[in-house]
């Protein structure tokens, strides 16, 4: 990929153009039940095409054994488990910030699970036309500086070069915040995260700005992580959210409720370890109506979404509940050691909230 000329990168948009030029009309809705072109395509293909970053420890990262891991990756796995009944049947596509929306719009990927901030212009039909699932990580934009630089706040960065990845919301937020405090600065924009952090570590910039989780994640792979610190200022709200295209609401719903099921499972205390026992309990006791509906023992929630009746069982068996996913990848037991903060359950003062399964 390194050898690809940027103009060739434009060709990434070519499938989009081609799809728009050659693409026919949407197929007619026939028969009863849920009709989703995307769901049918994924089922007949037998695997999910999931767009990830691929270079961000904790979120999506290729391990030394070649397997993908991370919070974003686990979302892909949960959806794959619910749709094609196998969390392993996923083809990952590593995308940079500039490629991601074109890849989604052209149908090159089914689901974008790549630390993408939900915004109005990305969601709206007149903008990028995406359909956002529930937010899987509530983040904020931060600034990282070398401890030795003596920079203590955003104001100290006036007149200094700041490294930022182009095509991100962070690029715009940086411009807004610096304009607010009336500080001139030099934004050095790079196309990929690798280039951005290499230039920062090379000393070209006094600071690098991105989502706070991403800065913490990248710092773990620095030669000397302790030599770098995050400024206390949080520049923006960054709800990192998986997305699908607007055109297929049934597919978007399937993704949305698969993710909600991970939230709900945590709320109900259902984990990867005890799901089999919970399922047996639900089957044995007809009075546990909520649990029976949630796990698909009774009712037809799965069918309504165009998914198998036990899609919740499949998803949670594959990756565990949201709390387990968080702890495993970015929480206290991981290298990143992030606080749960806003990402706690609503019942504990956080923002993770699933609407009722009813």
């Amino acid at each position: 990929m390194v050898l690809m000329a940027p103009l060739n990168r434009l060709l990434l948009a070519a499938p989009l153009l081609l799809a728009l030029v050659l693409g026919g009309c949407a197929s007619e809705d026939g028969g009863n039940g849920v009709q989703s072109e995307k769901l049918n395509t994924i089922r007949s293909r037998g695997k999910l095409l999931c767009g990830v970053d691929g270079k961000l420890p904790g979120f999506s990262f290729v391990e030394s054994d070649g397997r993908y891991s991370g919070l974003d990756v686990d979302i892909c796995k949960a959806v794959a488990a619910a749709v094609v009944d196998d969390p392993g049947k996923i083809e990952y596509r590593n995308l940079n910030s500039s490629e991601r929306f074109a890849a989604l719009a052209s149908g090159e990927i089914d689901l974008l699970s790549r630390n993408t901030t939900e915004t109005l212009s990305r969601d709206s039909a007149g903008g990028n036309g995406l359909s956002f699932a529930p937010t899987t990580f509530f983040d904020g934009q931060g600034v990282m500086v070398p401890v030795a630089s003596g920079v203590k706040s955003l104001k100290d960065l006036a007149g200094k070069p700041i490294c930022v990845e182009s095509g991100t919301t962070t690029e715009l937020n940086l411009a807004d915040r610096m304009r607010e405090i009336k500080a001139a600065y030099t934004p050095l924009k790079f196309q990929t995260g690798d280039q951005t952090y290499t230039a920062y570590l090379g000393g070209r910039c006094v600071a690098v700005t991105s989502d706070r989780s991403q800065l913490a994640a990248k710092r773990t792979s620095f030669p000397d992580p302790k030599a770098h610190e995050l400024l206390p200022e949080v520049l923006s709200k960054e709800p990192l959210t998986p997305a699908t295209v607007n055109a297929d609401p049934a597919w978007a719903d399937a993704v949305r409720w698969t993710i909600f099921s991970l939230f709900q499972a945590e709320e109900l205390g259902i984990t990867k370890a005890n799901i089999a026992a919970k399922l047996a309990e639900a089957k044995a006791k007809p009075n546990l109506a909520d649990l029976r509906r949630f796990l698909g023992v009774e009712g037809d929630f799965g069918k309504q979404l165009g998914l198998p009746p036990d899609f919740v069982v499949k998803a949670v068996s594959a990756v565990g509940n949201y709390g387990e996913i968080f702890e495993r990848n970015v929480g206290a037991t991981s290298k990143l050691k992030l606080e749960r903060g806003l990402n706690r359950q609503w019942s504990e003062g956080g923002l993770i909230y699933s609407p009722p399964f009813r």
Binding site: L16, A26, G129, G167, Q195, R204
Partner: protein, 334 residues
């Protein structure tokens, strides 16, 4: 009654065997088919874009951009509209291409001439340079110049200082005239270098890479041009007692130009296109601004159309200039 000398008009063949009719009909038919296919594709494009709510619109060009540029010849800030940002990017691209063309031509001509030098060391050095540079991808070279060479430069008081010139990680500084024709060299202000002439390391890395790379190709074009001049010309000049450098300048190069210029044309065009690799080293060129614009507006098709148009026009302009130049140096038939 005079007898007509012309042969009696042959009876006209039926239209399907008429040489004057059939080729026209066939061409008209093929043309019609192409038109229908294009109309179908365009119609489909518009229909699908409409369905996706993405019908082409250019109104966003007037909206405030909201992002800053790290460097711009044209004054630019975040409150100015997108079109102004794209224009600033285009001017930055033209700056890199302009300096690149001059530098690569000088380097290439010198190298091409050196390969005919009577000095064997110089000849071999030129050959080694061309073979090494030509066979390494440009992107790798740019990344090398930027991340390995220029970002290893020291900063502040430890910067490399030469009379009138300072090379630092933050940029290259040169002496020049300040307001009031006052000669001013690079100097430190609060640990930051200041000078009348300043080039960012991003621009310098891009320029170095483009000049070094395209220079190697131009050297080959120049070498080919010189080699195309008959050996007799060299021998005739030598028998007059001319030095090889004088021979080259006065006798051989003027004739070699006729062969060189068409070859230069394509090298110039690739330099202009290769300048879009600037994005790899953080230089704010047209492609870089366009990419940011595309991501902020979501107007993929429009931005790409603008980009394609800009590079196409730039390359066609270079081509037209070179063709004009070519016309000037060709042998005039009298």
């Amino acid at each position: 009654m005079s007898h007509s000398l012309e042969p009696a008009a042959a009876p006209r063949p039926p239209w399907w065997r008429d040489r004057r009719v059939m080729p026209w009909l066939v061409q008209a038919f093929v043309g019609l088919v192409i038109l229908v296919v294009i109309a179908f594709l365009l119609g489909n494009l518009v229909r699908n874009l409409t369905a996706a709510g993405l019908l082409l619109s250019w109104r966003w060009l007037g909206q405030p951009a909201g992002f800053d540029l790290s460097e711009s010849v044209l004054p630019f800030n975040a409150e100015m509209p997108y079109w102004r940002g794209l224009l600033a990017g285009l001017v930055n691209t033209l700056r890199a291409v302009g300096f690149g063309l001059v530098g690569a031509t000088l380097l290439g001509t010198l190298l091409g001439m050196a390969s005919f030098s009577s000095n064997g060391l110089l000849r071999r050095l030129a050959a080694v340079y061309v073979e090494v540079i030509r066979n390494i991808p440009l992107l790798l070279q740019l990344v090398f110049w930027y991340f390995v060479v220029f970002l290893s430069l020291p900063n502040g008081t430890e910067a490399l200082q030469f009379p009138g010139v300072v090379l630092a990680k933050s940029g290259f500084y040169g002496a020049g005239f300040e307001a009031g024709w006052h000669w001013q060299g690079p100097h430190l202000v609060n640990g930051v270098w200041q000078a009348p002439l300043r080039l960012s390391v991003e621009f310098t890395a891009l320029l170095t890479g483009l000049v070094a790379y395209t220079g190697a190709f131009i050297a080959e074009v120049v070498r080919g041009g010189i080699a195309a001049v008959p050996k007799g010309q060299w021998e005739a000049a030598a028998s007059l007692g001319l030095h090889w450098a004088t021979t080259l300048r006065r006798v051989v190069l003027p004739q070699a130009l006729r062969v060189i210029i068409p070859g230069l044309n394509s090298q110039y065009i690739s330099l202009a296109k290769n300048s879009s690799l600037a994005v790899a080293v953080g230089y704010t060129d047209l492609y870089s601004v366009a990419e940011t614009t595309l991501n902020q507006t979501g107007r993929a098709v429009e931005v790409i159309v603008l980009l394609l148009g800009a590079y196409l026009v730039l390359d066609l302009l270079i081509s037209a200039l070179m063709n004009g130049l070519n016309g000037l140096v060709q042998i005039r038939e009298r």
